[in-house]
Symmetry: C2
Subunit: 264 residues, 2 copies
C-alpha cells in the first residue's frame, strides 16, 4: 500500500511530501472522498465524483478532472498497489499559496490519492449520543465531505472516553443526524429508515445506494426512536456495521439482516 | 521570511515538507495561533499559550512545550528571519498516523512556525452580513482556534462575490458574533462593545487586551445595532481595521479613534 498519487505522479508514500503552505493543512481548505475497492475496482465512482463536484462548487474550488479522469486516476492507484479489496482516499485541497482567509486567485490544487487495505472485521458496535458536539443542519458544509473533521473527531473521542465505539450526533433540532463517520439506519415497524439530508446529514454513498434500492426510506428520527428500534446500523462505503447498544440500551439488531443490507 | 521551524529544526521553507498522512492535512485535526511581532518581539505570548492550551485540552492534544518553551521557539524563528515587525503562525497538528477518525495513541504532534512580514496598510473596510454561514455558538469548537477554517473561508468568499472586504457572521440566535477572522467592536452611546464569548465568539487576543484595558465592554449585539452604530472595527492581533460600510449602510467610524484603539 505504498504508492501514492500526488499531483499527477505516482510515487512511494515516503517520498510524497506536502508543502507547509498548503491551505488544506493550514485552514482545512479542501474536500475528500473515501472510495471502496472490490475485485480490483473502485465502486460508485459517478456518485463520488458528483459529491466531490458539489462540494467544489460550494468551496469555489476547481476540480482538476472529469468523472472519467477521476476513474483513470483511481485505477492507476489500484494498479500500482495491486489492490484487490480495501479503499482509496482522494484528497483535493486548494493548494499552496500566500497567506489569507480569502483564497488567492490562480492556485494549483493539491490532489492526492492513497490506498489502504480492507478494515478488519469488527464486533457489533456500542454507541452513545454525543453530548459535546451536534451536527449543524443549517450549515451548507454539512452537505459536503470537507477536511473540517474536528466535530467528528471530538464525538469519537467522547465515545471512546465513555466506553463506546462510536457516537450518534443530534442536530440542533435535537434529532438524530448521523454517526461520527457514517449514516444512521434505524429499523422501525419493519422498515429501515435514515434521516433526510436536511437534518444535517452528509449525503453518504451507501445511503444513496440503499435509498435507490428501496430498502431504506427517509424519516426524521427523534432520539427516543432508539429505545423502540428493531435494529440499528451505521454505514459508510467501507462497511455497514450493526449496533447492539445505544446509550446503554440494548438494540435487537439482527446480524444476519445487517449483513444482507451490507451486501447492497 | 524563509526560515521555518518544523518539529525542532529551523530550515528553509522550500525544504520544509509535511507528511501526506498528517492528520492536520487529512482531517483538520489541529490548532494554530497567529502572533504579532513588533520591535523584534512576539507579543502576548502568555495569552496565546493559554488559548492554545485550552484548545489542546478540548482536542486531547498534548502541547509539546510550556509557555517559556513556546517563547523560545518563537524567538528562534524571529531571529532566523531577522523579523522586526510582522507576525508568526504556529501550527500544531496531531501528527501523522494510521487511518481513522479516533486519534491513534502515541502520535508525535507536528509543530510548525512560519514568519511573515507586516500586512500592507489597507483602506477602511466595507463588510456584509454573511447569508450562507453562521457561527455556531453551541459548538465548543467556536472557542478554539482550530484548523477547521472553512466557515470563515466561505464567508470571505461570499463577501468578495458581493463586492465587500469582509463578512460579519451572525450566530444561530441571529446576533452578531464576529467577522471572518477577527472580533467585532461596535460603538454605541459613546461606548465600544464586543459580543460575549457565549455568542460563539473566538476569544481573540486583541479583544482580551481591549477588555482588560477597560476601553471595551461586552454586550450582545443585534444586527440592527449596525444601523445606529457610531463606529465599527474588526480586530485581530495583526490589525484593528475601521469599517465604514456595513450591508450597504454607511457607518461614521472615526479613523483617528480606530487608530487610537489599535494602539492598545
Amino acid at each position: 500500500m505504498s504508492e501514492v498519487w500526488l499531483n499527477g505522479t505516482l510515487l512511494p508514500a515516503e517520498a510524497a511530501q506536502i508543502s507547509p503552505l498548503d491551505r488544506g493543512l493550514l485552514l482545512g481548505d479542501g474536500l475528500f472522498e473515501t472510495i471502496a475497492v472490490q475485485g480490483g475496482q473502485a465502486l460508485d465512482v459517478p456518485r463520488h465524483y458528483a459529491r466531490l463536484a458539489n462540494g467544489a462548487t460550494l468551496l469555489r474550488l476547481a476540480v482538476p478532472f472529469d468523472e472519467a479522469g477521476m476513474g483513470a486516476i483511481l485505477n492507476s492507484v489500484i494498479a500500482a498497489n495491486r489492490l484487490l479489496a480495501g479503499g482509496l482516499r482522494l484528497t483535493l485541497t486548494r493548494g499552496a499559496g500566500a497567506r489569507g482567509v480569502l483564497p488567492p486567485a490562480g492556485l494549483a490544487p493539491t490532489l492526492m490519492v492513497t490506498a489502504f487495505p480492507p478494515m478488519p472485521g469488527a464486533a457489533p458496535l456500542k454507541v452513545i449520543i454525543a453530548q459535546g458536539i451536534r451536527r449543524d443542519e443549517h450549515s451548507p458544509l454539512s452537505a459536503v465531505k470537507s477536511l473540517n473533521y474536528l466535530p467528528s473527531i471530538l464525538a469519537r473521542i467522547e465515545a471512546s472516553e465513555r466506553g463506546a465505539d462510536d457516537a450518534l450526533l443530534l442536530n440542533h433540532a435535537g434529532r438524530l443526524a448521523e454517526a461520527s463517520a457514517g449514516n444512521i439506519f434505524l429499523k422501525r415497524g419493519g422498515v429501515w429508515l435514515t434521516p433526510p439530508l436536511a437534518e444535517g446529514v452528509l449525503p453518504g454513498i451507501r445511503r444513496a445506494r440503499l435509498l435507490a434500492s428501496g430498502q431504506v426510506r427517509e424519516a426524521r428520527l427523534e432520539p427516543e426512536a432508539l429505545a423502540m428500534a428493531e435494529g440499528l446500523c451505521i454505514g459508510s462505503v467501507l462497511a455497514l456495521r450493526p449496533v447492539v447498544v445505544a446509550d446503554g440500551v440494548g438494540i435487537p439488531t439482527s446480524l444476519a439482516e445487517a449483513a444482507s443490507l451490507a451486501d447492497l
